[in-house]
Symmetry: C2
Subunit: 253 residues, 2 copies
DNA sequence: AAGCGTTATATCTTAAGGTATACAATGCTA
DNA sequence: TAGCATTGTATACCTTAAGATATAACGCTT
């Protein structure tokens, strides 16, 4: 038993972007005309034209610009707006596909039952969710040390159980998310700490006793920390090292 | 711009369970015959019959049992297998709906762009993901103290930032997940600790220096802990109190 | 054996989609 | 400048598949 589900955007209750139309738009982008695109997909010219027409009329801004006559008799090109739409559709579709894959994994083909696992599409309270690439996995007895490379190149060590490594199928080269609470972040005092990331303070929000600090650790990866205000005098623009305990980090795939 | 996506199961590449058919099956379950169900949905009897026929022939086990003639002229009832299928479809659909809702939240209607947020359908390394109901939210300056009630009734305090409470829209009565690493769990030594949950050890896996312990804290909610083996002598069946630091817990919705 | 409510099937209707073709628009070329 | 090439635009016609309606078959009751 397989799962499938086509993602479609709706506008005013009417289907707007659907898979067929997306591939058509891609073909138009490539070939520069509706007729050629229709042949390439393949689909009838009529359907193609109708699809384009419907999309253009439903959309607040035109998605394609059509020109009749001219050098090669005219042509159809995708507008800037259309391109961003395509790009965003691709992003959403990717997420959706990931989700379906995970959902499929839970289905037991034979019995028609499902392993009941908690929420799949979960929104987390943790303010820090940084994407990074796995550069090494070194197992020890029960735990494993996973090293991630942030966009900036800085390394982040994560300690998770060996069991979790297997469950998540953590492999070198994969992109994963390092998830940790803002309260798990502190400022460098001990040189031998697990993880120290270097960055600059970009935001500061003080309160009675606590202080929310946002640190850019390079390439727009941001770490949010909530620390005791008395610790140290902080100011925006200041270079600083932050420490995240490796056993406080959760890995997400 | 709205998102929509119908969840369909496939079998041998052919659509098997789709939304329309599911509501039909529910109607059959209620009315006891295809014809009455078709009227109730509403849909033509032919479509209803065909749908049922296709499903039954695609399925490894029959989903409905049909009887022609007899007391009331016959009838159609859902088999045990069909019922579990319905139940499971509902579960998957719920997950899928949640996911789409979250995906929709990210779409910006006007610009057709999306707030790029990390992975939505994420699989986490954390071994402890317990579902519970929010019984209170008491904000302080920066942090907030969220109290969850497990199925067993035991309370679990979670400390997250006030910002996270707003982002997640945490409200009393909601079901949320408490997520924490097995390394964040320890055994009770201090009576004044944040959270102590009472339970019984149901699984024990020893190693050189560390020990994985699974504790049932009531109603099949299980907590996994990885602790230093030297701490204490443990045995399956033993009653024990576990401690989870409230600032180590991540909340998921 | 007639009646009933149902499943099962056959026939008809309709709507969607495809094919084909005519027409309009524009720049290029001779 | 007149035709030509090429593509978008629009329409007429055909095909096909889905849906609705009508009818047959069934098996039990009375």
């Amino acid at each position: 038993m397989e799962l499938s589900s086509a993602l479609t955007f709706e506008m005013l209750g009417k289907p707007f972007l659907l898979e067929k139309r997306i591939v058509l738009l891609h073909a138009i982008k490539e070939h520069g005309s509706i007729s050629k695109a229709a042949k390439a997909v393949p689909m009838s010219y009529k359907s193609a034209w109708e699809a384009v027409d419907v999309m253009n009329s439903l959309s607040p801004e035109p998605i394609v610009s059509r020109e009749t006559g001219g050098k090669d008799g005219g042509g159809t090109t995708i507008t800037e707006y259309g391109e961003t739409l395509l790009k965003n559709y691709a992003l959403l579709k990717e997420e959706h596909t990931r989700f379906l894959e995970r959902l499929s994994e839970l289905t037991d083909i034979k019995s028609g039952t499902f392993k009941t696992i908690g929420r799949l599409a979960m929104q987390l309270s943790a303010r820090n969710q940084i994407q990074a690439e796995v550069v090494s996995v070194t197992p020890s007895s029960v735990h494993a040390d996973v090293v991630l490379a942030l966009k900036s190149g800085q390394r982040l060590h994560v300690e998770i159980t060996q069991e979790a490594v297997e469950n998540l199928q953590v492999e070198v080269g994969q992109r994963m998310s390092a998830i940790f609470k803002s309260s798990s972040v502190s400022f460098l005092e001990d040189e031998n700490a697990d993880n120290h990331l270097h960055g600059t303070i970009v935001e500061l929000e003080k309160d009675d006793a606590l202080c929310k600090v946002v640190i850019d650790v390079g390439c727009h990866d941001k770490v949010v920390a909530v620390v005791d205000i008395s610790d140290r005098v902080l100011s925006v623009g200041e270079q600083i090292d932050v420490v995240v305990q490796k056993n406080h980090i959760i890995l997400g795939k």
